[in-house]
């Protein structure tokens, strides 16, 4: 079974359709599937629902899909400093389902793990709980949250072998494993594809069973908030 594809467009061939649900990895601009996002933009597919913690920034990452109005609905925890995201939401052009960050991550993991629903204390007594079932354990209320089952996952990893075993780097791991798990099909972009056997089997972050197609490419890896300290004089 060949999982390695030549380009993002090839890797997405046959997988995109209007109105689909895409789960995307990444947090802020860290560990986002840049190349696959660009290919989704170019495909012109529309009315997308995208489950992703953020929606990139203006003009980069998932923000590009906002600019082209390809997204109908976001499932996110954070709008933050993305002006176009806020504008489209406040003007009613874009639906936005707020998910607490941990609930979003767990909903993705649950969807990928055959768990249609789980209870959490997160959001009890807030707008997040509205319309959700409540159950009490030991005097505390918990709300029912549902697994996310995406049509497609788009994910960024550091390295893959040709069987799809993935390794991530530092905090670029973030939402990528749970996003990968919850897709019917999962397409991954990496910085390097290595021969099978060269990744330590004890240190695979996400086994190849979750990964259907892989591409290798160059990543811009833009930094959102460049913060540094001065070197003290020695």
């Amino acid at each position: 079974m060949k999982k390695v594809y030549g380009s993002a467009a090839e890797a997405l061939d046959g997988l995109l359709h209007d109105g689909m649900l895409i789960a995307a990895g990444g947090f802020g601009l860290c560990g986002i599937p840049e190349l696959l996002i660009d290919a989704v933009v170019e495909s012109g597919v529309k009315d997308l629902t995208v489950a992703s913690n953020n929606c990139g920034v203006d003009g980069f990452g998932l923000g590009k899909l906002l600019d082209t109005k390809q997204i109908k609905k976001m499932m996110s925890s954070y709008v933050g400093e993305n002006a176009e995201f806020m504008r489209q939401y406040l003007s009613g052009e874009l639906e936005l389902e707020f998910n607490p960050q941990g609930t979003l991550a767990e909903r993705m993991r649950a969807g990928g793990s055959g768990i249609p629903g789980f209870y959490t204390k997160t959001g009890v007594g807030t707008v997040i709980a509205e319309g959700k079932e409540v159950k009490n354990w030991a005097g505390e209320d918990y709300i029912l949250e549902e697994g996310i089952f995406a049509d497609l996952s788009i994910v960024k990893a550091w390295k893959a072998d040709d069987t799809g075993n993935l390794v991530f780097r530092k905090t670029a791991r973030n939402f990528n494993p749970p996003a990968a798990m919850c897709g019917k099909v999962c397409v991954v972009e990496v910085e390097e594809i290595v021969p099978r056997g060269s990744l330590d089997p004890d240190h695979i972050h996400l086994p190849g069973i979750y990964v259907h197609r892989i591409i290798q490419g160059e990543h811009e890896k833009r930094i959102e908030q460049r913060t540094t300290r001065k070197r003290e004089d020695a």
Binding site: F27, G28, L29, C30, G31, N53, S76, S77, Y78, V79, G80, M86, Y89, L90, L96, F98, P100, Q101, G102, T103, L104, A105, E106, M108, R109, T120, K121, T122, G123, V124, G125, T126, V127, I128, W158, F168, R169, K170, T171, A172, R173, N174, F175, N176, P177, P178, H205, K221, R222, I223, E224, Q225, R226, T227, T228, R229, K230, R231
Partner: protein, 208 residues
Amino acid sequence: MPWDRNQMAARAAQELEDGWYVNLGIGIPTLVANYVGDKDITLQSENGMLGMGPFPYEGEEDPDLINAGKQTITELARTSYFDSATSFGMIRGGKIAAAILGAMEVAENGDLANWMIPGKLIKGMGGAMDLVAGVGKVIVVMDHTNKHGDSKVLKACTLPLTGKGVVDRIITNLGVLDVVDGGLKIVETAEGVSAEDLRAATAATIVD
């Protein structure tokens, strides 16, 4: 004289105990890291890291290494990385001893609002709802009043909540208040701020 940002952060740092795993929010809470002194504190960044180190030296920024505020940071000898589901598993599971967070409003019943102003500002809750629901102790650090001079310490929150009855302690530029039965209890005041001053600046019920 009221405390400045650094004094508030220093006061908040006193809340932390040796061996604790702690999550610090954006803004003044971030400064708390500068005041932990000799205590063995491990900082969590909820995007998937325990053992958060300081900002990198110029030229050593790594785009794969950021904190929950999207700032470039560094790792320590104790650092571990993990995915977001695991990260919030430890938060919801009560493994984080304390979170120190900023707030737009806090109420005397422990309600906290810090993620949106309807029609004006949609920031999003990020990980804050998970943190206030899951961690051992929630400490709010903020200015006592807003820029119009109105108390941010209220009888009841007016903004959409981040959590209901979740705040344990409030540290402001005027002093320290605990959420107790019936209202807030003054724990201490900033140097030169009297209990009277604190009461006068507070819309919430103060109990003895």
